[in-house]
Symmetry: C2
Subunit: 413 residues, 2 copies
């Protein structure tokens, strides 16, 4: 096994126990807690500087190699993940009444969501672990991104989905050649069967709440945001929250940069959940631990009533002195239109939830008007055309004659 | 109006008449033919070299500014278009029995198709022309890409679609805030009404077969392919063909590079159409002019029985000593699965058509096994989930018990 010069160990976020950061390390052997990868920031500083970054031509998440838990001789995987676009939108900022607003569009990834960052990492670590099969259980973006990234890298996958999984998403999995097991039962049944199978056959486990490396993939979105801001940190970063892995990864990225001296200030996180499913934000608001909640929202990617990574999510929000805000489904649909009309960015519901939260937080004076904010779009609107139809409304239909056009669009005179 | 130092004029491809390359020039005033932008290659050579390119950090189609017909002071538009991923696939090459195969994935663009390259150009030229409204008539990728790019740049759009246009695509237009006019009538009726309106109100015309600049946007896919190949040209470039604008643009890009000394060889084009709709390829095969054909294929983006840009397409195929190949719908579906399973690339039907053509051309010995080939994926599979479901097949459904998993997947023992 090759050595990672930048990584010290994997530390349990619950009990603090330290473990060797082997490629297939999972949860804490003592208390079952999730592990966090611990870096040697002095080594990182000795290897790379802000100035070095500017000269790099690797336009993917792998441009931050010194910050990533991969062995020196591991190859960058085939699919180009990350280095997603970063847009300043003056018009959306004006509409929301905020000084500066930036959009980080992670819908522009090979399988069209931020999850590709975690799956690309899974592929590299599976290779390091000598695995040839990767497995997970999921019905959404994690599943399709694993299927796509694994196909490009030549891995076999077993992906467990509950029978109710939407046909379109299952089709995407099948198209990437995944072995899809459609399970007659609940998501819990599906997860249990997948865990049993992963255990039995020793498949590489792509589950962001169990495999600590996946969050290290997700954190690259923050490394990019910082560089795209020229290392001048914004006041706030808004992100939609489901099982908690993504906001945990976002925070880890900023903390790593801060520890390595790449940025001199940390942003405050804006944790946005759906009103109908907000166990993480509720825990923050109530100042106590989370407890399960119904899953009542159109934003399917964050409809997680029993979050699988609450510890890192809650830590991230608390450490960053974060803001929590819950939005209604109608506010999510409105944010989809706002992003489309002012930025040309088409987001899936969960992808627009962060922006809906920014709007509401400003309206409720949770954040000041002179702030600068980054909002992360986590997935592409093409993933969920049905909801887009709901949000978009219907066009005016007319006979093919000029007088009809004139009466339908009076502004044309 | 600012001057373009690299552009000499706009030349009619039919009668050779030359016109001033003003921002809103359209077809030939003498014969109605389509115009082609003529460059001063000596000027280009004096400004930029292959070596200069390697140092550039502009990761979009605008890195080739010296080759593009835009004024010196025109701003790069907001949405990041181009510099799409370029993958060598050893596994697909082996499956097809070809020496080297590369995939250019243009589904990774802001609105998920190659058409963004033309729409980004339209936005810049509309700005130069002093227009505030851009219009087109289309039901597909051109429409959604205009809507998205215009929204990001702050232009108003009027987009005419026939009433039969798929709801999902219309929703995307509405989401970007386009003024969508759904016309009770045929596509011809829709086109006629749009032409009348464009004429009456002087809107900027985003129609690749009328506006010569749009093909100059499309050609950037070839500039990128050449650079991503380190300027060592491949033997063949395969592309799906509908109205002819894209293959025309692809060829223009290579010719420009050749004329400026950036490449020392031109590739042969592989023009791929659907068996059920192949008027361009039929014209080549029969050695005479094209005539209309039925539009009988699942690949809706290239279901064009009356191509609007046949002249440039036929010139491109003939000048490049090109190969024409027609593929069945089943072959297109098979190519979608091939791209997904071997490359992790999810293509819409027209996006996989080029690859289907490569497979068939090799099988029919139209191209030799020792060739190197680039195939362009023109659009993302998420645009057409219904067809993906057809191509992908259905998964095995089992109860949530280990014995059921074992009997469903016997390879697990």
């Amino acid at each position: 096994m090759g050595k990672m010069k930048n990584v010290i160990s994997a530390v349990c976020v619950k009990c603090g126990a330290e473990f060797e950061a082997s490629p297939n390390v999972t949860t804490c052997k003592k208390c079952g807690g999730i592990l966090d990868i611990k870096y040697d920031y002095e080594w990182i500083k000795s290897q790379v500087s802000v100035k070095d970054m500017a000269d790099r031509h690797e336009n993917s998440m792998w441009r931050y190699r010194e910050f990533l838990p991969v062995q020196g001789d591991s190859k960058v995987p085939k699919l180009r993940v990350g280095w997603s676009p970063f847009y300043q939108s003056e018009r959306l900022a004006e509409k929301l009444g905020i000084a500066k607003l930036y959009i980080k569009d992670d819908g522009i990834n090979p399988t069209a969501s931020l999850k590709d960052r975690a799956s690309a990492m899974a592929v590299v670590k599976a290779e390091e672990a000598g695995a040839s099969i990767i497995a997970c259980s999921s019905t959404g973006n994690a599943a399709s991104s694993l299927a796509g990234n694994a196909a490009a890298a030549g891995f076999k996958t077993y992906i467990f989905v509950p029978e109710r999984a939407p046909k379109g998403k299952v089709a995407q999995l099948m198209m990437f050649g995944a072995n899809v097991i459609s399970v007659k039962g609940s998501y819990e049944d599906t997860f249990r069967l997948s865990a049993e199978a992963i255990d039995r056959w020793g498949w590489y486990n792509r589950n962001a709440a169990i495999n600590p490396y996946l969050m290290e993939g997700k954190k690259t979105v923050s490394l990019e945001i910082a560089e795209q801001l020229n290392w001048k940190m914004t006041d706030y970063v808004a992100i939609s929250v489901g099982d908690g892995c993504t906001i945990g990864g976002v925070w880890k990225g900023f903390k790593d940069l801060y520890a390595a001296g790449f940025i001199d200030k940390l942003p405050r996180l804006i944790s946005v959940q759906a009103e109908g499913c907000c166990p993480i934000n509720r825990a923050i608001a109530e100042g106590r631990d989370w407890y399960p909640m119904e899953e009542n929202t159109i934003a399917d990617s964050i409809a997680v009533g029993v979050p699988r990574n609450p510890d890192k999510a809650l830590n991230a929000i608390r450490e960053s002195n974060g803001v929590v805000v819950n939005v209604s489904d109608q506010e999510i649909l409105d944010a989809m239109k706002l992003l489309g009309t002012t930025c040309g960015v088409f987001a899936e519901p969960a992808g627009a939830t962060g922006t809906a939260g920014v709007k509401k937080a400003i309206e409720q004076s949770l954040i000041p008007h002179d702030a600068t904010i980054v909002t992360v779009v986590t997935g592409n609107g093409l993933k969920d055309p049905a909801t887009a139809i709901t949000a978009a409304g219907t066009p005016i239909t007319i006979p093919p004659q000029m007088p009809d056009l004139l009466s339908a669009f009076p502004e044309l005179k």
